[in-house]
C-alpha cells in the first residue's frame, strides 16, 4: 500500500509538472524479484488513487524478468526461478542482479484538455 501511495504521488507530481490534468494511464516497470506482487499492487493503486487526479487511471504494469551475472557461464543468465538464484543453464549461484529489482514509474498519459477545459471522453471510454 505504501508503494502504491508513492506511485500515485509520483504520477500526480509528474502531471503537475506538465501543467496538470487528469491522468488516464500510468506505466510502471515491476521487477520479478522486487518483492512487489503485481496483482496486489494493481488493486492497491486503484484504492490509493481514489479522490485524486489519478482516480480511474489504467495501471499498466510491465514485468521485468530477473537476470544476473553467472560466473560459471561468463554471461548474464536468468535464474532457475524468481527466488532461486541459481543459473538456469549451469546451476551455479548467480552474482549481482542486473535486472529484476525495478520499481519504476516510466510514463504517465494525460488527458488532453480542450479549449473549454473539459477532458476528452475518448480515453475514459477506453
Amino acid at each position: 500500500m505504501a508503494v502504491a501511495m508513492a506511485v500515485v504521488e509520483g504520477a500526480l507530481a509528474a502531471a503537475e509538472r506538465e501543467g496538470g490534468g487528469k491522468i488516464a494511464a500510468v506505466h510502471l516497470r515491476i521487477g520479478a524479484v522486487s518483492g512487489v506482487d503485481r496483482e496486489a499492487l494493481a488493486l492497491a493503486l486503484s484504492v490509493a488513487a481514489e479522490g485524486t487526479g489519478a482516480a480511474g487511471a489504467n495501471w499498466l504494469l510491465t514485468a521485468v524478468a530477473a537476470r544476473a551475472w553467472c560466473g560459471g557461464c561468463g554471461a548474464v543468465r536468468e535464474p532457475v526461478a524468481d527466488y532461486d538464484l541459481r543459473c538456469g543453464d549451469c546451476g551455479a549461484w548467480l552474482e549481482a542482479l542486473r535486472t529484476g529489482r525495478e520499481l519504476e514509474l516510466t510514463a504517465i498519459e494525460l488527458e488532453v484538455r480542450q479549449a473549454g477545459g473539459a477532458a476528452t471522453a475518448e480515453t475514459e471510454a477506453a
Binding site: A14, A107, L110
Partner: protein, 220 residues
C-alpha cells in the same frame, strides 16, 4: 471545437521510492560524517528483536556510546523494555500508527535533538514485518534479519526480499531449536538460495549462546 485528442504521453522514468532513497542517502551521509555506525534489525513480529537488544546492549554499554530507535504501530512498550535493560542507553519509540514499516523520514524526525557525533552506534529496530521494511532504505550501514527457531526453516523462501536486502542473518531462540524441531542446516540452505554468501549466526538471547560472537560482529 476540435475533435477529441489522444492522451498525451509523458515520459517520467523515476524510481518509485526515490523520495525515500534520497532522504536515506542524506541520513547515511550524516551518520558517516558523525562517525556513527547504524545497524537496523528486521524480522517478523515476535522473532526477538527487542530481546536481542536487551541482551546485547548491556554487553556493549561499557565500550560504546549507543542509542536506540524502535518502531511499532503503537505503544511505548519496547522502548521501556530497552530502558530497563540498559538504563544508560537512550531509547526512543517511533509509533507509526497504521504504517507497517519505518521510513527514512520517520528516522530523521526521531533523531531530532540527539547529537549523532556523541554516538558510536545507533540501533534501529524496525516494525515487525517481513514484507514492507525490505523496500525502505533507512540510511543504515548494516541490516540484520532475524529468523527465530519457532518460525520454521522456510521463511527465507517465502519472504526472500527481506533476506536479499540484509547483511547478516541471525537464527534466534536457538535454545528452543530442539524442542520445536528447527533444522538449522535446512534454514541455512534456504538463506543461501535467496542470498548466496550471506553469513548466518545462531544465537539465544535467553541462554546467551552466540551473544559474545555477535558483540564481536560489531567491531567488524
Amino acid at each position: 471545437m476540435s475533435e477529441a485528442a489522444a492522451p498525451r504521453i509523458v515520459a517520467v522514468r523515476e524510481r518509485i521510492l526515490k523520495a525515500n532513497d534520497l532522504r536515506a542517502r542524506r541520513l547515511r551521509a550524516r551518520f558517516q560524517a558523525a562517525g556513527t555506525g547504524v545497524i537496523s534489525l528486521v524480522s517478523s513480529p515476535g522473532a526477538g528483536k527487542t530481546a536481542l537488544l536487551e541482551a546485547l546492549l548491556p554487553r556493549m554499554a561499557e565500550r560504546y556510546r549507543m542509542a536506540v530507535l524502535v518502531g511499532d504501530l503503537a505503544t511505548e512498550n519496547d522502548a521501556e523494555r530497552l530502558r530497563r535493560a540498559a538504563p544508560a542507553v537512550p531509547a526512543r519509540q517511533i509509533a507509526t500508527g497504521t504504517v507497517c514499516h519505518l521510513d527514512a523520514a520517520m528516522v530523521e524526525r526521531a533523531l531530532e535533538g540527539w547529537a549523532l557525533a556523541a554516538l558510536d552506534w545507533l540501533w534501529i529496530e524496525n516494525v515487525g514485518n517481513l514484507v514492507c521494511p525490505a523496500a525502505y532504505d533507512l540510511g543504515e550501514q548494516r541490516r540484520w534479519v532475524l529468523l527465530s527457531a519457532t518460525e520454521g526453516e522456510d521463511k527465507p523462501s517465502k519472504y526472500p526480499a527481506i533476506f536479499q536486502g540484509a547483511d547478516l542473518t541471525l537464527f534466534t531462540k536457538m535454545d528452543l531449536a530442539g524442542a520445536v524441531g528447527f533444522d538449522a542446516a535446512a534454514a541455512r540452505a534456504n538463506v543461501q538460495a535467496v542470498r548466496p554468501g550471506m553469513r548466518v549466526l545462531e544465537i539465544s538471547a535467553r541462554s546467551g549462546a552466540g551473544m559474545d560472537g555477535l558483540a564481536a560482529e560489531i567491531g567488524r
